[in-house]
C-alpha cells in the first residue's frame, strides 16, 4: 500500500518533476559549456598547426624537399609538435612519428588519430590532431599536435555525464520520497481526523501546533470550520427540539380539547362525527410533523450516536412478517430472499422504519394479485437491501424528484400517504452513508439501499 501511495503523492510527483527538469537543464548547461570550451581549444590547436604548416610549406617552396627535411628536423628538436614526412609509399622519410597513422586522411582536413609515444622505456598510445599536406612526387607532410589531455578529459566527461545525471535523479527520488512521506504523514493525520469526525464524532479536532507551518494553518482552518459546523449542528438540534416541544405541546392541548368535547357529545351525533373528523385530521397533522422531524434529525445526523452493529436479515424478517398479512389481504405475493447474516453499522429503529416505508409503499402501489419481493444481498461494495414491486413504477425522470419532501406523483394522488415515505428512506440512507437507488423493475419499482461495506468492530475481529 505504501509504495503506490508515494508514487501517486503530489509532493513526490512535484519533487520528481523538479529533479528531472533540474537534471536536464544542468546537463544541458554543462554540455554547452564543455562543447564551447572544447571548440575553443581545438581552434587554438588548429591555428598552431596551420601556422606551422604554412611555415614548413614556405621552406619547401623555397628550398625544396631537402630544405623541408632539415626544417622538420629542427622543429622536431625545438617544438612540441608532431611531424612526419612520407614518400608516396607512405614510408617515413623524416619526423618524430613512427608510422603514418592508420586513419583515412584527406589532405587539407584535420583528423584525430592515435599514435605511440615511447618515453623513458614505456610505450603509450596517445591521441593527436593534425593535418596532412600533399607535396609533389607523392610526398605527404603531416603536422600534428598531441591532444591527449583534452581527449582524456572529453572521454571522462562523456562517460561520467550520464552517471552524474542518474545520481542526481536517484538522489532526487530519495529526497522526493522522504519529503512526500513527511507530507503524507501530515496529511494522513488530517485525513484520519476528518474521517472520524465525518463518522459522527463532531467533538474531535484535527491536531494543530501553534505557531505552525502551512499544514497547521490548514488544520486550524479545518478546526474553525468544524467549530462552526458543530455550532450549527447544536443549533439545528436545539431548533428541532424546541420546534418539537413548542408545536407538540399546543397540538397536545388541541387534541385534548377535541377529545374532551367529543367526550361530552352523544355518540354518532353530527357534532361528534365532525369532532372525530377534526381529531383524525389532527392525528394526520401530527403524523406528518413527526415524519418531518424524523427526516430533519436523520439529515442532521443527530441519531448518529445510536449507531451500532445491527443484523439486517433480522430486520427484514421482522418487517416482512409484519406486512405479510397486509400483502395477503390484497392478494399480493410477498417473497423474501435474505441471504444469511448480513451486518451493517446503523440505527436499528431508523433502518426498520425505512424498510417499513419501502414495503408499505410497494404494497400500497402494487395492484391486486401483484408481486412484491424483498431482497438482501451481500456484495463486495456492502449490503444491498431492495424492495421490488410490480406496480406502476416511477418514470425515470421523476425518480430523483420523489425523494424530495412531500412529493407524491400525480397519478397516485388518490392513494393514501403523506408523500414523506421515500424522503425519509433517502434521509436514513444518507445518514448511513448509504445510497438509495430507484430503478425500473420492469414492470414496477425497485428501490435499493446500498449500504457501505461493514467495518467490523475491533472486538469482533479478535
Amino acid at each position: 500500500m505504501r509504495a503506490p501511495r508515494i508514487l501517486s503523492s503530489l509532493a513526490f510527483r512535484i519533487v520528481l518533476a523538479y529533479v528531472t527538469l533540474f537534471a536536464i537543464s544542468a546537463g544541458a548547461l554543462i554540455a554547452f559549456t564543455y562543447w564551447n570550451t572544447e571548440r575553443a581549444i581545438i581552434a587554438g590547436t588548429d591555428q598552431v598547426i596551420e601556422a606551422e604548416t604554412t611555415g614548413l610549406i614556405e621552406q619547401y617552396q623555397r628550398l625544396g624537399l631537402n630544405g623541408l627535411q632539415s626544417a622538420v628536423l629542427t622543429r622536431v628538436r625545438n617544438s612540441q609538435g608532431l611531424y612526419l614526412l612520407v614518400n608516396r609509399f607512405r614510408y617515413p622519410v623524416v619526423g618524430n612519428l613512427d608510422a603514418w597513422p592508420e586513419v583515412e586522411m584527406r589532405p587539407g582536413y584535420f583528423v584525430e588519430f592515435d599514435y605511440e609515444r615511447t618515453s623513458g622505456g614505456t610505450t603509450q598510445v596517445r591521441r593527436a590532431r593534425g593535418r596532412a599536406f600533399q607535396l609533389k612526387g607523392g610526398f605527404l607532410l603531416l603536422v600534428a599536435r598531441d591532444v591527449h589531455e583534452r581527449y582524456e578529459t572529453e572521454r571522462l566527461f562523456t562517460t561520467t555525464l550520464p552517471w552524474t545525471a542518474a545520481l542526481m535523479l536517484t538522489l532526487g527520488l530519495i529526497g522526493g520520497a522522504l519529503i512526500s512521506r513527511n507530507f503524507l504523514a501530515r496529511l494522513d493525520t488530517i485525513n484520519r481526523a476528518a474521517r472520524e469526525i465525518m463518522a459522527g464524532d463532531l467533538s474531535r479536532r484535527v491536531p494543530a501546533r501553534e505557531p505552525g507551518d502551512e499544514f497547521d494553518a490548514l488544520s486550524q482552518n479545518l478546526n474553525r470550520m468544524l467549530d462552526r459546523i458543530e455550532r450549527l449542528m447544536a443549533g439545528m438540534r436545539e431548533v428541532t427540539d424546541s420546534i418539537a416541544h413548542d408545536l407538540r405541546s399546543p397540538l397536545n392541548r388541541l387534541r385534548n380539547r377535541l377529545e374532551d368535547t367529543l367526550h361530552d357529545l352523544p355518540l354518532e351525533s353530527p357534532e361528534a362525527i365532525k369532532i372525530e373528523g377534526a381529531v383524525s385530521e389532527t392525528d394526520r397533522l401530527i403524523g406528518t410533523f413527526n415524519a418531518l422531524l424524523l427526516i430533519a434529525e436523520a439529515e442532521a445526523g443527530v441519531a448518529r450516536e445510536a449507531m451500532e452493529p445491527i443484523e439486517l436479515s433480522a430486520i427484514v424478517d421482522g418487517i416482512a412478517e409484519l406486512y405479510e398479512p397486509v400483502a395477503e389481504e390484497k392478494g399480493i405475493s410477498l417473497s423474501i430472499a435474505p441471504s444469511g447474516r448480513i451486518m451493517v453499522k446503523g440505527n436499528k429503529s431508523l433502518i426498520t422504519q425505512a424498510l417499513a416505508n419501502l414495503l408499505d409503499n410497494a404494497i400500497k402501489y402494487t395492484p391486486e394479485s401483484g408481486k412484491v419481493r424483498v431482497e438482501l444481498r451481500d456484495t463486495p461494495q456492502g449490503a444491498a437491501l431492495s424492495v421490488a414491486d410490480s406496480g406502476p413504477g416511477i418514470p425515470a425522470g421523476d425518480r430523483a424528484r420523489v425523494i424530495e419532501r412531500f412529493v407524491r406523483l400525480e397519478a397516485s394522488r388518490n392513494s393514501p400517504g403523506m408523500g414523506l415515505g421515500l424522503s425519509l428512506v433517502a434521509a436514513v440512507a444518507r445518514m448511513h452513508e448509504a445510497r438509495l437507488e430507484l430503478a425500473d423493475n420492469m414492470p414496477g419499482l425497485k428501490a435499493t439501499i446500498h449500504f457501505p461495506p461493514y467495518a467490523r468492530p475491533r472486538a469482533e475481529v479478535a
Partner: protein, 225 residues
C-alpha cells in the same frame, strides 16, 4: 388507584388530572420536578406520570432520584422531545413506558392500566383464560372449548398480550410496541390486519365473540360483551 402527575404545562395537567379522575383514579399533581420528587418519595403511588422536561428538576433526574431511593413505582414518561434516543434514555433512567406528545387520552389510559397490571404478582401465570379460550404458556397450546386452535408464533404472542390485559383496552401502538417491539407509526393498518387474522382463528364459528374492537381506541379481549 393513586396516580401522581408531574406536568408543567398547566392546561395539559388539568386535562390529564380531570380525565384520570373521571376514569376513577385518585390523582395528585405537581408542576415542577422538585415538588414531584417530594410527593413521589413521601406518598405511595400506583403509577407516576412524569413529563420529560420540567422546571427545577428534569424528568429524567426525578426518576433517577426516585429509583435511587429504592422506590419501584411504575413511571410513564410523557415527552414532547422527538429524538429517537430519548425513549432509550427515558427507559434507562428507570422509566417503565414512554409516550410522545401529543397522545390520545385512551392511549395514556390503556398504558397506565397496563403498568398497574404489571405490578400485580399474578403476572407469573402459566395459563391464561378468557371465557372458554385457554392459552397454555408452557406447551404453547391454545384451545377454545374443546377445539384446539393452531396459532403462528406471532399470533400466539399477540393473543398472549391481549389475554394478559383481558378486560383492558389495548391500543394499536401498544401492540406494535409490545408484540413486535417496533416504535414507529406504520402508515397502513397493519395491526388491524393481524387482529382480523387472529379473530378469524379464535372467534369464527363460535357463538360469543371474545376479541372486541373498541372504537377510537383499540382492542379488548373479554368474556362478556
Amino acid at each position: 388507584m393513586r396516580i401522581l402527575v408531574v406536568e408543567d404545562d398547566l392546561e395539559a395537567q388539568r386535562y390529564l388530572v380531570q380525565g384520570l379522575k373521571e376514569a376513577g383514579h385518585v390523582v395528585d399533581d405537581a408542576a415542577d420536578g422538585e415538588t414531584g420528587l417530594n410527593l413521589a418519595l413521601s406518598r405511595p403511588y400506583d403509577v407516576a406520570i412524569v413529563d420529560r422536561m420540567l422546571p427545577k428538576m428534569d424528568g429524567l433526574k426525578l426518576v433517577e432520584e426516585v429509583r435511587e431511593h429504592g422506590n419501584v413505582t411504575p413511571v410513564l414518561f410523557l415527552s414532547a422531545l422527538s429524538d429517537v434516543d430519548d425513549r432509550v434514555k427515558g427507559l434507562k433512567a428507570g422509566g417503565d413506558d414512554y409516550l410522545t406528545k401529543p397522545y390520545a387520552f385512551v392511549e395514556l389510559l390503556a398504558r397506565i392500566d397496563a403498568l398497574m397490571r404489571r405490578r400485580s404478582p399474578a403476572a407469573v401465570k402459566t395459563r391464561l383464560q378468557v371465557g372458554d379460550l385457554e392459552l397454555d404458556l408452557l406447551t404453547r397450546a391454545a384451545n377454545r372449548g374443546n377445539t384446539p386452535i393452531d396459532l403462528q408464533p406471532r399470533e400466539f404472542r399477540l393473543l398472549e398480550y391481549l389475554m394478559r390485559h383481558a378486560g383492558q383496552v389495548v391500543t394499536r401502538t401498544m401492540l406494535l410496541e409490545s408484540v413486535w417491539e417496533y416504535h414507529f407509526d406504520p402508515q397502513t393498518n397493519v395491526i388491524d390486519v393481524h387482529i382480523s387474522r387472529l379473530r378469524a382463528k379464535i372467534d369464527k364459528g363460535f357463538d360469543t365473540p371474545l376479541l372486541h374492537t373498541v372504537r377510537g381506541a383499540g382492542y379488548m379481549i373479554r368474556a362478556r360483551a
